[in-house]
């Protein structure tokens, strides 16, 4: 086991979500979507949402991003799916961090924040 993993920079959750994301892919019939980039590194994330009667019936993401950003997108999608849109729109970076359980440094915090802000954009009225 390497120092990086021991130190918790890449938690088990991040490695698992990076290797096998559960919400990655297209969402045909998405009713809303948004995309943005991280100007620091050029990472790109698109979140697609299927809204039905004010509830987030489905979420998928696509993009080209690092392990932390990909894991964050996957967790963001999981947290949003099934919730009322108004609640999903209030998800924060802290909510995602609580699931990731990793020692994210300030320089990588934007990798976590990007998918959350893209989801908020997709859900904006």
């Amino acid at each position: 086991m390497t120092a990086a993993i021991k130190a918790g920079l890449y938690s088990d959750t991040i490695r698992e979500r990076w290797r096998r994301p559960r919400f990655r892919g297209e969402l045909p019939g998405a009713t809303a979507q948004a995309e943005d980039v991280n100007p620091l590194c050029g990472d790109r994330v698109r979140m697609m949402v299927d809204l039905r009667d004010g509830t987030v019936a489905g979420v998928r993401f696509t993009g080209d991003s690092c392990a932390i950003c990909t894991a964050s997108a996957d967790v963001t999608a999981e947290l949003a799916e099934g919730r009322p849109a108004v609640d999903a729109a209030r998800l924060t970076t802290e909510d995602v961090l609580a699931v990731l359980q990793a020692d994210i440094r300030p320089t990588r915090m934007r990798c976590v924040a990007l998918p959350v802000s893209v989801l908020q954009k997709a859900l904006a009225p």
Binding site: A3, A4, L9, L40, G42, D43, A67, I68
Partner: protein, 405 residues
């Protein structure tokens, strides 16, 4: 004794322990480290001689002015400029490019073209976008061939009577490509275009003879060549600099001022409004003195050896792709690479855990990244203190990396 053995003890920061390992600093293209002489020259200046320059009629003011202007003389000798008035001290490469682009921008007419290249750093793209905007002028760009070199046939097609400016990097900050400056500038001159060369990745590494390059403007930064941040150089051929209208005003850049007009100062001070970075000029002087003592030919030879070693050892690691010119072609002191299945930021973060500092991302060259069909690379870059052992440690860490995430 190799150059790194000779210099290593001069750089206090190289004693740092990072994440339990000796620091292996392979990010000198982003910003180099400084030798003790530079740090001491700056603190000595603040401790004994600081005052404002040029207008303080007292002992300290005179000392500070002499030290500031001595830096200009040092730069003039270092780059082989014909006259000291051709050396404008700026805030850095980005500042120098903005200065030239904003001034030349005012002279652009509808239909004019600014020719750049796909290799450029954003700092040699954005100022030109701003310069052509609202002038009815446009930007064209020379593509990069598969081997990382400029497509010179395309250059010939793109260059024409509408080309007013040719602006390009001497050395690519991503691929390390060394562009044929003299050849490009000679062709540009034939069509009457002004030539602007971004020397940020060249001045720290290659012996420069500015007059032999044949360009009109050449810019570089201090902090990539062992000097402090916050200062850089804009060299302009005397006639080219004279023809440039200043776009920034303030104290020092004028001779006489009335409420509604002013008369500009002589070169080079016309382009240095406000209080300049004086301590930084003292530091830049010390940095160049350090490089001159080593000898730039020796610096180039050392870094070429490191680049060659890096290209060879990285290319031999399964899953690692090296970008840029082949090993047989001279390159600057940078090598970009990627690791299959890993994002460049994760590569950098994992290497950091081993004390190895590399840059990762788009390197402020998004158009180039798009052309290569990638979002980013990791990049190892070198300076006088970089050792062959540093490269071996990088290779060793990279070989183990793919199993780590």
């Amino acid at each position: 004794m190799s150059l790194d053995e000779k210099t290593r003890g001069d750089f206090p920061i190289l004693d740092r322990i990072v994440n339990g390992h000796r620091l292996v600093y392979l990010d000198s293209a982003a910003s180099s480290q400084r030798p003790r002489t530079v740090i001491e020259a700056m603190s000595q200046y603040y401790a004994t001689s600081h005052a404002n320059v040029h207008r303080s009629i007292h002992t300290l003011g005179e000392e500070a002015t002499a030290l500031y202007e001595a830096a200009r003389d040092r730069v003039q000798r270092f780059i082989g400029a014909a006259r000291r008035e051709e050396v404008v001290l700026t805030r850095g490469t980005t500042d120098g490019l903005n200065l030239v682009a904003s001034a030349l921008g005012r002279t652009l007419r509808p239909g004019d073209e600014v020719l750049i290249t796909d290799l450029e750093h954003h700092s040699n793209i954005i100022p030109w976008q701003m310069a052509v905007r609202d002038r009815g002028a446009s930007i064209r760009s020379i593509p990069v061939a598969a081997d990382g070199q400029l497509d010179l046939a395309a250059f010939e097609r793109l260059l024409g009577p509408r080309t007013r400016v040719l602006a390009f990097a001497h050395v690519s900050n991503v691929l390390g490509t060394i562009t044929p400056v003299a050849q490009l500038c000679a062709r540009a001159r034939q069509v009457g275009a002004v030539t602007v060369v971004d020397g940020a990745q060249a001045a720290p590494h290659l012996p420069l003879d500015i007059s032999a390059l044949g360009c009109d403007f050449y810019v570089f930064s201090s902090h990539k060549m062992l000097g402090p941040t916050g200062i850089g150089v804009l060299w302009g051929r005397h006639e080219a600099l004279e023809a440039l209208e200043p776009t920034r005003g303030g104290g020092e850049m004028i001779k006489e001022v009335w409420i509604d007009r002013a008369r500009w100062n002589d070169l080079p001070w016309r382009f240095e409004p406000g209080t300049p970075p004086i301590a930084e000029a003292v530091g830049l002087n010390a940095a160049i003195e350090y490089l001159e003592k080593l000898g730039m030919e020796r610096v180039t030879e050392h870094e070429r050896g490191l680049a060659l070693q890096t290209v060879e050892v990285l290319a031999a690691i399964p899953g690692v792709t090296v970008y840029g010119p082949p090993a047989s072609v001279d390159r600057g002191a940078v090598v970009s690479f990627s690791v299959d299945g890993l994002h460049p930021h994760d590569v950098a973060a994992l290497l950091d855990q081993e004390g190895i500092a590399v840059r990762a991302g788009h390197h402020c060259a998004q158009p180039l990244m798009r052309g290569l069909g990638i979002t980013g690379t990791a990049r190892a870059s070198f300076s006088v203190y970089t050792s062959p052992e540093d490269i071996s440690l990088l290779a060793h860490a990279l070989a183990a990396l793919r199993t780590q995430l």
